[in-house]
C-alpha cells in the first residue's frame, strides 16, 4: 500500500482505489468542541467536572474544575480541639478513614511527648491495612465498571463488606470510624476480633487471585489500559505524585519503608513496582497492578501483626491519651502512606491553645489529579475515562 504524505494538507478525506490512495477533499476544517464531563458523571467518581476541548474523538485539553465538595476542613480544624479533628479526617478520604486518622494521629503525636503502648500500634496497623484493602477493592471494582467490566465490581464489594463489618465491630461505624485517637485508640479490639481477621485473610487470598484473573488477565481490560496515560517517573515526581500512582511509574517509594512510622520497620513486606513485563511502566495498567499487588502485601502485614501482637492483659487503649492535648509550640509536617498516596498534615501550635493554629491537609488525590491536564492531552475520550479511573480519586479528599 502506498503511503501518502498528508503533511500540511490539514484534515483530508481519502479513498482507496486498488493500490493507490486518492485525495477527495483537503483542508477540511475541524471544529473544536467543548465537552463538559461531570460534575454528575459516573466515571468521575464523585463531583468532578472536566471541561474537555475535543477535536473529534481526540482531547486537546481537559481542565478539571473542583470544589463541589469543599467543606472548609482546615477552617473547621482551627475552631475545634485537637482530638475533635479526628472525625473530620474520616471525611477527607471516606474510603480509607482509618488511614486518614492514623496520619493525623502520628502528626500530632510528634508534637507531644508521649509513648504509645505497643499494642495500640499493632491494632492501628491492622485496621489501617484492612482499610487499605477495602479502599483498593473499591478502586479496582469501580475501575472495572468504568471500563465495562461489571462482575469484578460485585466481587470487590462482596469482600469489602466483610472488612467493613470487621471495622464496624471494632469501632462502631462502617466508614467514618473515629477510632484512632491522638495518643491511643477509642477501644481495644473485641474478643475474637483477631481470629476473625485471620479467617478473613485466609478467605481473601484466593479471592484476590480470582479477582486478578478476572481483570488483570482479561484481554479487553488490558487492551483498554495498556500503554494508556503513560507518566514518566521524573515528571511524576515533579508533579508530586505519591502512593500507587508514583510506584506505577516505577519509583520504589513507599512512606512505610522510606519514611517509616509506627511499627512498619519491624514488618516484612515488599514494595511492589511494575517491571515492564505485564505493562508499560507508568501506564494505567501499571497503576492498577500496583494496587492489586499491594493487597497481597497488606495481607502479609496483617498476618505478621496478629502473630507479634502483645497480649491484651492490663491493656488500656486510652492510657497514653493526655487529659488535655496541648502540644508544645512549633510546627510539624507529618505524613503517612494512604491507599491513594501521601496524606500529610501540616500543624502549627502556639503552645498555649488546645486548638491548632493552622492545620493543613496535604491531599494525595488533589496532587495526583493536578497532572490531569498534561496526562489527558491527545488522548481519546474513552481513554480519558480510563485515566481518571486509574488516578483513583476520592473527591472528599480533593476538595476537603
Amino acid at each position: 500500500m502506498q503511503e501518502l504524505d498528508t503533511a500540511g494538507l490539514g484534515s483530508v478525506r481519502v479513498t482507496r482505489q486498488s493500490d493507490t490512495v486518492v485525495i477527495l477533499e483537503k483542508d477540511l476544517a475541524t471544529e473544536q468542541m467543548v465537552l463538559a464531563m461531570g460534575p454528575q458523571h459516573p466515571s468521575t467518581h464523585g463531583v468532578l467536572k472536566l471541561e474537555c476541548l475535543t477535536d473529534g474523538e481526540v482531547i486537546t485539553q481537559a481542565e478539571p474544575y473542583l470544589g463541589y465538595l469543599h467543606r472548609c476542613f482546615e477552617k473547621c480544624c482551627e475552631n475545634v480541639d485537637y482530638p475533635a479533628v479526628v472525625p473530620y479526617t474520616d471525611r477527607l478520604d471516606y474510603l480509607a478513614g482509618m488511614n486518614s486518622e492514623f496520619s493525623y494521629a502520628i502528626t500530632v503525636e510528634k508534637l507531644l511527648d508521649i509513648e504509645i503502648p505497643r499494642r495500640v500500634e499493632f491494632i492501628r496497623v491492622i485496621v489501617a491495612e484492612l482499610n487499605r484493602i477495602a479502599s483498593h477493592l473499591v478502586a479496582i471494582g469501580t475501575y472495572g465498571i468504568d471500563l465495562g467490566a461489571f462482575t469484578p465490581f460485585l466481587f470487590c464489594f462482596r469482600d469489602r463488606e466483610i472488612i467493613l463489618g470487621l471495622l464496624e465491630w471494632a469501632s462502631g461505624a462502617r466508614m467514618l470510624y473515629n477510632y484512632i485517637w491522638v495518643g491511643g485508640l477509642a477501644y481495644d479490639v473485641p474478643t475474637d476480633f483477631l481470629k476473625r481477621v485471620k479467617e478473613f485473610v485466609t478467605y481473601f487470598r484466593p479471592k484476590a487471585r480470582e479477582l486478578s484473573e478476572l481483570l488483570t488477565e482479561n484481554e479487553i481490560f488490558v487492551k483498554r489500559t495498556l500503554g494508556i496515560g503513560i507518566m514518566p517517573a521524573d515528571v511524576a515526581i515533579n508533579y508530586g505524585w505519591s502512593g500507587p500512582m508514583l510506584r506505577g511509574s516505577g519509583v520504589k517509594w513507599d512512606l512505610r519503608r522510606n519514611d517509616p512510622y509506627s511499627i512498619y520497620p519491624e514488618l516484612d513486606f515488599k514494595v511492589p513496582v511494575p517491571d515492564g513485563k505485564l505493562s508499560v511502566i507508568g501506564d494505567c495498567l501499571s497503576r492498577h497492578l500496583v494496587r492489586a499487588w499491594e493487597m497481597d502485601e497488606s495481607l502479609k502485614i496483617i498476618e505478621q501483626c496478629i502473630d507479634k501482637m502483645p497480649s491484651a492483659e492490663g491493656f488500656n487503649p486510652r492510657s497514653a491519651i493526655p487529659k488535655r492535648i496541648r502540644p508544645k509550640a512549633g510546627e510539624v509536617y507529618g505524613r503517612a502512606e494512604n491507599p491513594r498516596g501521601e496524606l500529610g498534615f501540616y500543624i502549627e501550635s502556639d503552645g498555649k491553645s488546645t486548638k491548632p493554629l493552622r492545620c493543613k491537609a496535604r491531599s494525595s488525590c488533589f496532587v495526583n489529579l493536578s497532572a490531569m491536564k498534561d496526562l489527558s492531552k491527545g488522548q481519546l475520550i474513552p481513554d480519558l475515562v480510563a485515566i481518571i479511573g486509574s488516578i483513583d480519586i476520592v473527591l472528599g479528599e480533593v476538595d476537603r
Binding site: N238, G240, K252, V332
Partner: protein
C-alpha cells in the same frame, strides 16, 4: 532512643543542605531554624525565591525534586501572609527541608515556583484562594476550591463570611 538518634541525623542532613543554599545566597535567606519536628529557613529577599527554588532543585548536592506540601499561613500580628513549602529529595538523597516565604498582608505577592515544580501550580492556586496573596508568574492564578465569584479569603484569621451568595443565605 534509637528513634531520637534518627531524627537528629535527618536534622544534620537538613542543616548540611541549608549551608549549601546559604553559601550561595548569603543574607537573602534567614538563619537555619534547627527544630526537630520541621527544620526550616525563611527567604528574606522574596524576589529571589524562584531562583533559590531552581537552585534547590538543580544543585547536585540538594536535588529537592519533590515538593511534598505548600501551606498558606496568615500572620495577623505581623501583618503578613506566608507560605511554607516542604521539600524532599525523593529517592535520590532523601533529605528534607522546609522553606518559609512571607509577603505583605494587603496586596502582597510572592514569586511563583510553578515553573520549577508542576505540583506548585495547584498548591499556589489553593493558597491564593484561601489567603489572597498573589503569585507573580503563575500560569493561571484563579480560585480553585471556592467559586470564582466568592468574596473574601476564608482562611484568614479575620475572615467574615459574606451574607448572600447568589441570593442564598450563607451563614446558617
Amino acid at each position: 532512643m534509637e528513634e531520637g538518634k534518627n531524627i537528629s541525623q535527618s536534622l544534620q542532613e537538613s542543616a548540611a543542605a541549608y549551608s549549601i543554599i546559604h553559601e550561595k545566597f548569603g543574607s537573602a535567606i534567614s538563619d537555619f531554624d534547627a527544630n526537630e519536628t520541621m527544620p526550616f529557613f525563611e527567604v528574606v529577599d522574596t524576589s529571589l525565591w524562584t531562583e533559590i527554588a531552581l537552585f534547590m532543585r538543580e544543585h547536585p548536592k540538594l536535588q529537592f525534586n519533590y515538593m511534598a506540601c505548600l501551606t498558606g499561613v496568615d500572620y495577623p500580628a505581623e501583618e503578613k501572609l506566608g507560605i511554607i513549602c516542604n521539600f524532599e529529595s525523593l529517592a535520590l538523597l532523601n533529605h528534607k527541608l522546609a522553606v518559609k516565604v512571607k509577603c505583605a498582608r494587603n496586596g502582597g505577592s510572592i514569586p511563583s515556583v510553578a515553573c520549577v515544580w508542576h505540583t506548585a501550580n495547584w498548591h499556589e492556586r489553593e493558597a491564593y484562594d484561601m489567603f489572597g496573596m498573589l503569585f507573580t508568574g503563575h500560569p493561571e492564578l484563579k480560585r480553585i476550591l471556592c467559586p470564582d465569584d466568592w468574596e473574601g479569603y476564608p482562611l484568614r484569621k479575620d475572615y467574615k463570611v459574606q451574607d448572600q451568595y447568589h441570593g442564598i443565605k450563607v451563614p446558617y
